[in-house]
């Protein structure tokens, strides 16, 4: 009876068994990368909006404070999306005829809200409160990034749990004096860790144990 397999099968088997290890490791690596890619988490992806509103122009160039539009950020879980009337405070006077702003004027005439596409969207099983973060010295910048340099809004971070919990485990890395929360130009000092630990005490932050309890965010 002749041999079923050629001699070379031995080498091919060894090569494929050894190679399979690398293929599996590679696949695991690819899966891990996809989970952290903008394809999954939309980090850095600018969304199409009814009006191409530029935070760069309004915040960076004109210097309008965050709270002029996001009025409830200090007192509510929701930062607030401004009503069309807020836009019209200025735009009834300037750029009144530009076609780009026609959806805003149409909304004002009809009373139907503009429908913006949410950019920083947390899953519904996450309980998130803007006011507690703002009142404990977490700057807008820490989560939303350099909004004053974004012509179109995009998420500056992944908003995945590992990103949230990284700060909840080490809040001293990002905490800043309360009066600097809305300052987009704020630079953390060289002694940030020392300042952070001092502010943690001053603002009565709960312990890391409490901050990382499941129930803090998943209620």
């Amino acid at each position: 009876m002749s041999q079923v397999f050629h001699r070379s099968t031995n080498s091919i088997s060894r090569f494929t068994i050894f190679g399979a290890l690398f293929v599996l490791l590679g696949l695991a690596w690819v899966g891990e990368q996809i989970q952290r890619s903008p394809y999954v988490n939309y980090m850095g992806v600018a969304q199409i909006q009814p009006v191409p509103f530029s935070h760069q122009h309004h915040v960076g160039a004109l210097g309008i404070d965050c709270r002029y539009c996001h009025t409830s950020v200090e007192s509510s879980s929701f930062a607030g999306i401004p009503p069309t009337k807020t836009c019209m405070n200025c735009h009834s006077q300037i750029w009144t005829n530009t076609p780009m702003l026609e959806p805003v004027r149409a909304s004002f005439r009809s009373g139907n809200s503009l429908v913006w596409t949410r950019v920083n969207d947390l899953p519904d099983f996450v309980f998130f409160d803007h006011s507690i973060h703002v009142n404990k010295g977490i700057g807008c910048y820490s989560c939303h990034g350099a909004v004053d340099r974004m012509p179109l809004m995009y998420a500056a971070h992944t908003l995945q749990m590992e990103w949230c919990i990284d700060c909840h485990r080490n809040p001293e890395k990002n905490i800043r004096p309360k009066e600097q929360v809305f300052n987009m130009e704020y630079q953390p000092p060289a002694n940030q860790m020392e300042l952070g630990r001092r502010l943690e005490k001053q603002y009565h932050l709960r312990s890391v144990y409490d901050l990382t309890s499941c129930n803090t965010c998943h209620r």
């Binding site: 088997s13 989970q35 995945q160 590992e162 919990i165």
Partner: protein, 467 residues
Amino acid sequence: MAEHEEHIDEMSSHLAPAGPAILAPGHTFATITDKISAVVLSRDTPAAWLLATGGFGLLMMWLLFATAYQLARGIGIWGVNIPVAWGFAIVNFVWWIGIGHAGTLISAILLLLKQKWRNSINRFAEAMTLFAVMCAGYYPVMHLGRPWLAYWLFPYPNTMGVWPQFRSALVWDVFAVSTYFTVSLIFWYQGLIPDLATLRDRSQSKAGRIIYGILAMGWRGSARHWKRYDSSYRLLAGLATPLVVSVHTVVSFDFAIAVVPGWHTSIFPPYFVAGAIYSGFAMVLVLAIPIRRIYGLDDFITTKHLDNCAKLMLATGEIVAYGYIIESFMAWYSGNLYERYMILDRMGGKYSIFYICLISINVFFVQVLWIRRIRRSPALLFLVSVIVLAAMWLERFVIVVQSLHADFLPSSWAMYYPTFWDITQFLGTIGLFAFGMLMFIRFLPMISIFEIRELLPEAHVSLQEVD
């Protein structure tokens, strides 16, 4: 010729001092190989096999359907609810995983203890372990409620930035069971390699030669192959040995580290391990007795094997009985109100019929195995084994359901009733198990050919010469 047979008899009596031999006289290397490989290579399939495969295959199909239905509807189709949140799922998990233990004990511990009689039953006992662990693994995964997220139980660099809760016995289970399955699979497969090469060389069909050839991984049976084979097989046996005790110990921690009366006892690990081996040997007998009958393998699985398995069952059964006694004793001796109530409720409460059944079987009935005539009668031993398997299932039912249904707070007490799906899914896993075993019997040598050959005096002599 007569002289030769006398020689074999002398050698076998040397191997097995008392009672019947572990290998019927008159065999040679060739007859052993012919007889075992013929089961696989023959074109004739016994009618009993076809009938069983059809029946159990249907049950397995039902399991598939029930699983699909459950994925669509959620675990609400089961009878579980608060306070009895564990129900059939965990009862069956513990029962199935326990059954697997005999396979590992036979393959690893008996190998290291040089118990030659294991050679005839280790192969299918290991296959039994694999299919039992599959059936066991099915339940906790389905019980998650969202089984598609089962991979969350593994520690991998996830985007949630958290690890599984390593202080939870349920995570220990994941490691214990997956390690158990992996080691058992590798051990079983390595044991198969020389036999797969035999099948490759004997197969009449091209497809058979190719498939068995690939599976045999280029085994040529050279002295170098055997040397490496022997050392790695023993190493694996060494690795598998702690698994015999560790897996069911960890399973018992699911209960023992909780505060529920009836679970929170330190006797659980040894008592669970003994119970596992006890039910495992019952399953070995339930499988071995019909197989040797249908395929005429009495030469290899002799009454000596049945006798030995029955003795192991009896020994572990006594440990289990001791566990029951200590459980009741501690409930009284501890003076703990809740423990006392639990044991009284177990003996006289709403689930007492199950407790009475399991005590009368596992403590009293199993003592019939002291009688040699029963240990050596296949039919009676088969009956005893089936009864023992049922009793061990009842034991897990009592531990899981009776303990949970009435804990500290009378206001939350409630009865548990299995639903149609609970019961038929369990039958479905029996279908999966039996179907797997039937496929194994048909396509792989169910008895280790080369290890049986080692039982011959010829092999004994030549092995010594190599040394």
